[in-house]
């Protein structure tokens, strides 16, 4: 835990690391601060805090949705987990071991187990390689699949698995439509039978009528091969559809994390509330009946994040206290009052969470326990 002034958080942190065996992937205090260089001498004048202390746990076989607006650091986080970028600080724990210290050889072994699917199906496939070679590359790199004939059969099998014609392995990416290219990207990702696939906005560049094809394909593959997904998106509807648990990111930090039901039915963080309220639903009557909370202003620059709670500049229920103190990610009350108790799996980083029956732009009168404890 990065901020752990609070007894509760430490306790939560302790339990999670003690039982790390149940998690396929964990990030601990992960930070990525890109230096900003200026001047002739390229001096570092500041840092873009793209990822600023993220603790995530991903369980075997689940889909963790990761949502946030552009610039919140979700794609950077994906690249940190895969070690396509080396973090400034923190740990990436895969199957109980911190992979950041791994040398080339051990890392290569880990790469068999974690793969990525990219957003842009046009940029993620090398235009000069045939589809067959693209899908065979992971097999060749890891020396799997035996002779070239066997490898070709495996590639054709993979093409069939993702719903493409196996005869087309000799074609080039440009001969396929966007949705089909995304299927090729999926085939490359599953070629090594990985345990974890990071899906970085896999459907947001596709036409609406194609998105469902890819979403369903991903769901089917998960069932078939027992895959674990980290599903990154800016669209809360897709994430709700595919995820078991959802984490909301804002300015490099986790604002709220919960199982799906908890997050969508009982959002505690004002930012989650605002996000949910901002999404239009394709139902005219529901739309007319909705009271929308519109956040003021823009997302601040991650090069210069606000003090205290990083959401305070846009928060409708901000108080002076929030501007000076950084809220820890702490367990939230369940709906149903004090007797219902807290849900350890539903955590939000807010001093004045939106409780049951409250409106987000309503001023929080009581400060349940967080502030008094300090």
């Amino acid at each position: 835990m990065t901020e752990a002034p609070n007894g509760r958080t430490e306790a939560a942190g302790a339990t999670s690391s003690a039982s790390s065996g149940e998690y396929l992937l964990e990030t601990r205090g992960l930070k990525m601060h890109f230096p900003i260089k200026a001047g002739v001498l390229k001096r570092t004048v500041g840092h873009v805090k793209a990822v600023d202390g993220v603790d995530l746990q991903v369980r075997q076989g689940e889909t963790l949705g990761l949502v946030g607006e552009s610039g919140c650091g979700k794609s950077t986080l994906a690249r940190l987990i895969l070690r396509l970028l080396e973090p400034t600080a923190g740990e990436v724990v895969f199957e109980g071991e911190n992979i950041l210290g791994y040398d080339r050889k051990r890392m290569l072994r880990v790469r068999r187990d974690m793969q990525i699917i990219f957003q842009d199906p046009y940029a993620s496939l090398n235009p000069r390689m045939t589809v067959g070679n693209i899908i065979a590359e992971p097999l060749k790199t890891h020396d799997i699949g035996g002779s070239s004939g066997e490898r070709k059969r495996r590639v054709q099998e993979l093409l069939e698995i993702v719903g493409l014609n196996p005869e087309h392995y000799n074609r080039y990416p440009h001969e396929f439509s966007g949705g089909q290219r995304q299927r090729i990207g999926v085939a490359r990702a599953v070629a090594l039978n990985p345990k974890l696939i990071i899906c970085d906005e896999p459907v947001s560049a596709l036409d609406v009528s194609i998105q469902a094809q890819v979403v369903n394909l991903l769901q089917d593959l998960q069932k078939e091969f027992g895959l674990t997904y980290v599903f990154i998106a800016h669209d809360l509807s897709v994430v709700k559809h595919i995820s078991d648990r959802v984490a909301v990111m804002y300015l490099g930090k986790i604002a709220e994390i919960s199982d799906r039901k908890g997050l969508y039915a009982e959002p505690r963080h004002p930012y989650t509330n605002a996000l949910l309220s901002a999404i239009p639903v394709p139902d005219p009557e529901k739309e007319r009946a909705r009271r929308r909370v519109v956040l003021a202003g823009d997302v601040p620059s991650p090069a210069n994040p606000p003090s205290g709670c990083n959401f305070h500049t846009r928060c409708p229920r901000v108080r002076e206290y929030c501007k000076e103190h950084v809220p820890p990610l702490i367990p939230q009350e369940k709906n149903g009052g004090a007797e219902a108790g807290e849900s350890p799996d539903h955590r939000a980083s807010c001093f004045f969470p939106v409780l049951e029956g409250q409106r987000i732009d309503e001023r929080a009168e009581s400060t349940p326990y967080r502030v008094s404890e300090r």
Binding site: V208, Q213, L276, D298
Partner: protein, 339 residues
């Protein structure tokens, strides 16, 4: 007579490989203060329709073999370029998808708005600048007096789109065409921009043509909807009718294929198979037949015209409403969807 009436508009492009019928017979009308939502995927012809209204398609290769665009009774397809220049920006304004590229980076935002005002209205520079500050204030930009002298790169994405809207509204246009105005923006910013457009519409009575692929945005804003597929309008009607009783299998499939916040996760998505057709090689019969879940033998032969199914609600499908209802029902039962 409607303020804007489009009759059987055809916008074709001559290319090396043949004629691309980007828009092929589209009709609609718009009253002051009304919002029309045009929904479609990329290549459906929705953006070309918008550019046709503004007469901004590159000429050549564009051709308008048929149809008319009547703005207050005058056919814009026959209007001279100088007449169009008077109409563009003044009577009909347009907002584009990408606020990054639609503002000129070497002029201040204020310069660009004052220029737009002074092209159409005989006012002094000082007067125009005052108006510019006023419209920036209208679209919710803080410190407009200072911001007016800043360059586009000093604005955030949301502010740029606001500035674009400010420029669009600077001459109080009667029609505002918004081509995917929020697609490049984050949802919280989208909510701001859409709210702004509704407020301004109420204030000035502007008619809005909202072009989008997002059915949620249409449900939120539009009074009536036109669904486009492969250059044609395939369904048209009041928003509620189209959403609650879609008469064209494409519209119905689209609504079933998107994950929605109100039901997501409870039902499996119903994807539309295949990909949108190439506009040069359209399928025989109905354009949608290769992807249609309810396709019949006749669909491969008959190219259905847009016809009234209910008062004010038209769709291009040979299935009768009863047949369609039965088929929809059967699929819903299989998927376990309520009613």
């Amino acid at each position: 007579m409607a303020m804007l009436e489009v009759n059987d508009l055809k916008t074709h492009f001559k290319t090396q490989d043949g004629t691309v019928k980007a828009v092929d017979g589209v009709s609609f009308s718009l009253e002051p203060g009304e919002t029309l939502g045009i929904v479609g995927e990329s290549g459906s012809g929705k953006s070309v329709t918008a550019l046709s209204l503004m007469q901004l398609n590159p000429k050549p290769p564009v051709e308008y073999p048929e149809g008319e665009i009547l703005f207050e009774g005058q056919d814009l397809l026959k209007a001279s370029e100088s007449r169009m220049q008077k109409i563009r920006g003044n009577d009909i304004a347009m907002i584009f998808q990408d606020p990054m590229t639609s503002l000129n980076p070497v002029f201040t935002v204020g310069d660009q708005i004052t220029e737009a005002i002074r092209i159409h209205q005989q006012v002094s520079k000082g007067e125009a600048k005052k108006r510019a500050v006023q419209v920036l204030k209208d679209v919710g930009i803080a410190n407009p007096e200072r911001r007016v002298d800043e360059y586009p790169h000093q604005y955030s994405g949301g502010m740029r789109q606001r500035a674009m809207i400010a420029m669009g509204l600077s001459c109080n246009p009667k029609v505002l065409i918004a081509d995917e105005p929020t697609t490049a923006l984050d949802v919280t910013i989208q909510a701001q921009i859409l709210e702004l457009m509704v407020d301004l519409q109420e204030k000035y009575g502007t008619a809005i043509v909202m072009i989008t692929h997002d059915l949620g945005v249409v449900a939120q804003l539009a009074d009536k909807v036109m669904v486009m597929y492969a250059g044609r309008a395939v369904e048209q009607g009041p928003t509620d009718d189209v959403f609650y009783d879609p008469m064209m299998p494409y519209t119905w499939s689209l609504l079933r294929s998107i994950p929605r916040l109100d039901t997501a996760g409870e039902v499996r998505l119903l994807p539309i198979k295949g990909t949108p057709p190439s506009l040069i090689f359209l399928p025989e019969g109905c354009n949608f037949n290769p992807r249609c879940p309810f396709v019949k033998d006749e669909c491969h032969r008959i190219d259905p015209a847009l016809e009234g199914k209910k008062p004010g609600h038209a769709a291009a499908c040979i299935l009768s409403p009863e047949e369609l209802e039965n088929k929809k029902h059967r699929v819903d039962e299989e998927l376990g969807v309520e009613g």
